[in-house]
């Protein structure tokens, strides 16, 4: 069972605001969905799940990309070629 406190903690990690009024519903839905996921517990340990994977590499060659101006087109608050963000501290 996942508690309301755990759901609040996860929301804080994920930067997702949750109202007190939503917490009960989210927690109950969480438990119902995670209860369904528990079917994965019956899978045997030791099965190799990485056998078909491989890396794709390329040379680190600079290619044409967006201009700084284009990259900032959608920012609501650009300043001197940078973008403003909320304060960290």
């Amino acid at each position: 069972m996942v508690s309301k406190e755990e759901v609040e903690h996860i929301a804080a990690i994920a930067d997702i605001g949750i109202d007190d009024s939503e917490l009960e519903l989210f927690t109950s839905q969480f438990n119902e969905i995670i209860g369904y996921f528990d079917i994965l517990d019956s899978i045997e340990e030791g099965l190799d799940s990485t056998q078909t994977r491989h890396n794709v590499f390329r040379e680190d060659v600079p290619l044409p990309s967006l201009s700084q101006e284009d990259a900032l087109l959608n920012s609501t608050d650009p300043e001197d070629g940078f973008i403003r963000a909320p304060r960290v501290i």
Binding site: D15, G17, F37, I43, N74
Partner: protein
């Protein structure tokens, strides 16, 4: 040659979020054909929102690779179609721009998440459309709206410029009213793209021709298991009988990993969603956060206000299943289940050429009657296996149940799009 396409038809089913009323087109195999684009595919100069308030006002500065290909083929890109926010849903009701109606019955949902693309095609607004399929999001609305939809093999169509929800599953694919148009649009978008590390360099698709004679078609018992509406099952069984009449050999088989498929899909896709959707903080695009608050507080408030409940739920579940202490219980096990599904398909494809079953376990849902989230997730049970294994799958209309369209799903080996489209065409034409 080229010309201009004036997009005058009304949109009574709310299939589009953004319409381009007068567009230029060029020369090529799609010259002048109006095409709708799902609103999670980047189009330079045309607003792209993923049906989310968090991307309201976003205008991509570049085209997705598939859009570049469509423009080169002469297509008239007439707008961006409605969808479930970020592709999360099975009804297209979870859109910040209101639900889309199913043209086959406007009191019903078109399916999701590419419901706008399917409704635009089914209602005759456009001849073809692009959708994306993460866990069935092309095939589900194709089935519910009575049209054809193809999820290509993972890696066959570039995802460059597709706004990511769950990278390891999703593919861009075509929706059209018939197999011929679906194959035509697929032939334009399939190809290598060096900008996508998962893209494969393969020969172009073969010309389409009806072919089913002598093919072995596997029918896993699990595709007709609990939860599949009996009327839908009967229609699909009749369709498979028709394939046999056309010369196919039908073989019963089993797919034991199906019992884990849905959980594996949702655990993995939610984990990927939690990671992908971390970028939406209003700083580089979208609505601005409150600058006078500290970082986490400002972002939490913004993301609560602008993400829908479903998107927030999936980000929370994804964050949970990847968190320390639970990663081994959920995410790692889901990867094992994914390997089991892939192995099951590989085993079956040693015996058969195509796997057939229903696309969806029911007909289109009534609008406004969506039940709890888990029940909605369960509706994806027949489509997610193809995404877990990365194989191609097509949904082709095969009749009606209670007057509503039913889809026949045909799945093939990796990169065997030509084979399943050939079978779908044979079915559509009733010829071998």
């Amino acid at each position: 040659m080229g010309g201009r396409f004036v997009f005058e038809k009304p949109d009574p089913h709310n299939a589009f979020i953004t319409r381009c009323m007068d567009v230029a087109y060029g020369d090529g195999p799609l010259s002048g054909i109006p095409i709708g684009i799902k609103d999670n595919i980047s189009t330079a100069g045309i607003p792209t929102t993923c049906a989310s308030k968090i991307l309201e006002g976003y205008i991509p500065p570049y085209d997705a690779h598939v859009i570049t290909l469509l423009r080169s083929a002469g297509a008239a890109i007439v707008g961006k179609t409605n969808m479930d926010e970020f592709g999360m849903g099975t009804t297209t009701e979870n859109s910040a721009y209101g639900p889309t109606q199913n043209p086959a019955d406007p009191t019903r949902a078109p399916g999701g998440s590419s419901g706008g693309s399917a409704a635009a095609v089914a209602s005759g607004l456009v001849r073809m459309a692009l959708g994306t399929d993460t866990g069935g999001s092309i095939r589900c609305p194709a089935s519910f709206c009575g049209i054809v939809g193809l999820k290509p093999t993972y890696g066959r169509v570039s995802r460059h410029g597709l706004i990511a929800y769950a990278n390891s599953f999703e593919q861009i694919g075509p929706l059209a009213r018939n197999v011929g148009d679906c194959a035509l649009l697929y032939s334009v978008i399939a190809g290598y793209d060096p900008k996508d590390g998962t893209s494969l360099d393969l020969p172009p698709p073969a010309p389409l021709q009806a072919e089913i004679q002598g093919k072995r078609i596997g029918v896993p018992a699990e595709f007709f298991g609990e939860g599949v509406n009996p009327e839908v099952a009967d229609v699909v069984r009749s369709a498979i009988d028709r394939l046999a009449d056309l010369g196919a050999e039908v073989v019963s088989c089993t797919m034991p990993s199906m019992r884990y498929a849905l959980a594996a899909y949702y655990v993995t896709s939610m984990g990927e969603a939690a990671s992908n959707l971390g970028r939406y903080d209003g700083v580089r695009y979208g609505p601005a956060p409150e600058f006078f608050r500290p970082w986490h507080d400002a972002y939490s408030r913004l993301r609560k206000e602008y993400f829908s409940e479903e998107v927030r739920r999936r980000i929370l579940l994804g964050t949970f299943s990847l968190s320390a202490g639970y990663q081994g219980k959920y995410y790692a096990k889901a990867q094992k289940a994914r390997s089991m599904v892939r192995s099951d398909f590989n085993r079956l494809f040693e015996e058969v050429d195509i796997i057939a079953g229903p696309t969806m376990p029911s007909v289109a849902f009534r609008l406004g009657k969506s039940c709890d989230p888990l029940s909605m997730y369960l509706a994806d049970i027949l489509t997610v296996p193809a995404n877990l294994a990365g194989i191609p799958a097509v949904s082709v209309p095969c009749g009606t149940a209670g007057g509503l369209p039913v889809g026949l799903q045909l799945m093939g080996r990796h990169f065997a799009e030509d084979e399943i489209l050939a079978a779908a065409l044979a079915f559509e034409e009733g010829s071998a």
